[in-house]
Amino acid sequence: MVQQANFIYFSPQTTGKTGKAIKIDKNLFLPFFCGVDPKTYEGQFIINQIEQLRTAPDHHTIPVGNAYRAPDHTQQLQNFKNAREHMLRVKSAQIIYQIKQGVGDGSPTVYITQIRITNKGDNQAPGFYSRNKIPGGGRGPIQKMKDVSLKHRTVYINGLSDSIDEAMKQAGNQSNVLFYNPARVCNDLGIWSSAPQTYITKNAVKELTKGLEDHKGDPVNWLVEGEGGGVLNEALKNMSGTLTGHNFKITNPKTNTPKLLKAITEKKGNLPKMFLSYTDSEVALIAAASHKEALAQQIGLLPCDKEMRNKIVATIDEKSSGVSPLTKQASRLSSKSITFVQALNNAGIYRK
């Protein structure tokens, strides 16, 4: 059900002066900000295609047919069809919208009720991979590990990446074993995602759970980046036993971080000095800002020294304070003051 008070005009071009007006749920501001950057070619393209919905026909017009329908019946059918949800797919965005004439609308209006970001990626299966060096330098072949041996090794769980090549590049020199977390898994387990897990995600969780369970007694270092926290969270939830000897370092987590830290400590995993760090990822900082109290509370319960806990909480406080105006701005959006795209452009200062 569309709550009209929550909707604001999408952009200055979509206020209904030419073509249909387009309105968007202001609660979509943060997911949109995190998924679409208007400074990039792709971001511009997505915004442009949404603006094109002004010219969308009442595509849901009732076919003429031969059967006689009373005019009010036709109108009822038309209202019913228009109120159905439709989807515009443009690059990585899925825009869910309805066309309806709400109270106060002079004509049928496009209401954007949901946006989903479906990041593109390669077809590589999730799992443990290693890279060979080659004589020419640069990138060597990446091979799926047949016998997954993680003892005394450092495993990198990647954040969002287009391909396994890019994931390996993210790992850099920190590690020579990659747990590949493909884009499709990141889509399912992202902080804004409410979608059910797909087969590939279930498979990724299963492979990581097995890797953890098979090395329960071994020393293993884990470096977890961005969306990689999501798949680790799920694997820890599914695994049995404890992880004594496993060290976890997390950078820019884009997941429910308090839940992840709780799961690691419950499994008796170690969180070394500065186990949690934030660099320049605005999405991770927005996630931190939205879970700030729970995060501070969870860190307070960790069995590491108090000074270290205080230092990490202070760092999160300092870093996330930079995006706090953005989260406040998102909650205060009103149709009288600004359009969605204008607010998005203004919020560009929070992008790194």
Binding site: D37, K39, T40, Y41, E42, G43, F45, Q49, R89, V90, K91, S92, Q94, T118, K120, G121, D122, N123, Q124, A125, Y129, N132, K133, I134, P135, G136, G137, G138, R139, G140, P141, I142, Q143, K144, K146, S161, D162, S163, I164, D165, E166, K169, N173, R184, N187, T198
Partner: protein, 239 residues
Amino acid sequence: MIYPGNIIGPQFDKSDLVDFKFKGATLTLLLPEIPLETRRIDEVSTIKDFSDVDTQDWELTSEDDPCFTLVSQKWNFEDAKTFDDIASCWVEITLVEVSEQMQQSHMILSKSALKKYFLDAFARALEGEEGANMDNPNWPKKDNAFNYKCIKRESLDWMQIEVCFATGSQPSPLAFIPIDNRYVLNISFHMSSMHYADRKNPYSDELISKMEFGLFDEYLQSINLRYTSETLQRIQSFN
């Protein structure tokens, strides 16, 4: 290059030219302009003069030769009808410093020595490689010299081989270009097919692989390498 189907992407005729200087040659590379995308890579070495560079801190290859990335670029190809990204192309150009012995003998400027140096090294690096495709006679491996191809050039021929960069993907081209007695340039292209979770990529892996090799050939044609007269004399004495 005219891309097949409705594919659109960066063109080499809209490129920047970048010069790199070496003791024995000057190299000019084309760097295509690529659109500002969230996940693009567009990095070029800030060092342009390698005449007298200390390579001690460089990364090492599988043969422990120092190597340095000159260019790393990653861009996307789109379908002009749907505007979906259908493939990404990753170009990496690295500089390899050959062994001390090779440098002193200047043998890397000999076509046959260059071939032996890198084919032997690849055979060592990829020894014991397994995979479903290893029975395919056309799949690059030691037995077929990794599909070695000689790239004819006026002064000194270059070499091309193929390597599979990731399990399950098609082989990609890799070229070696001797610069002088100290350095060899390594150029690799790798195209990956891109997929959105909710729709199918209309272009097959085979077509994307064919495009990758076509683009690679075109890129090699664009490289301008000018040897010094001393290097040219050495080359003539060996070949």
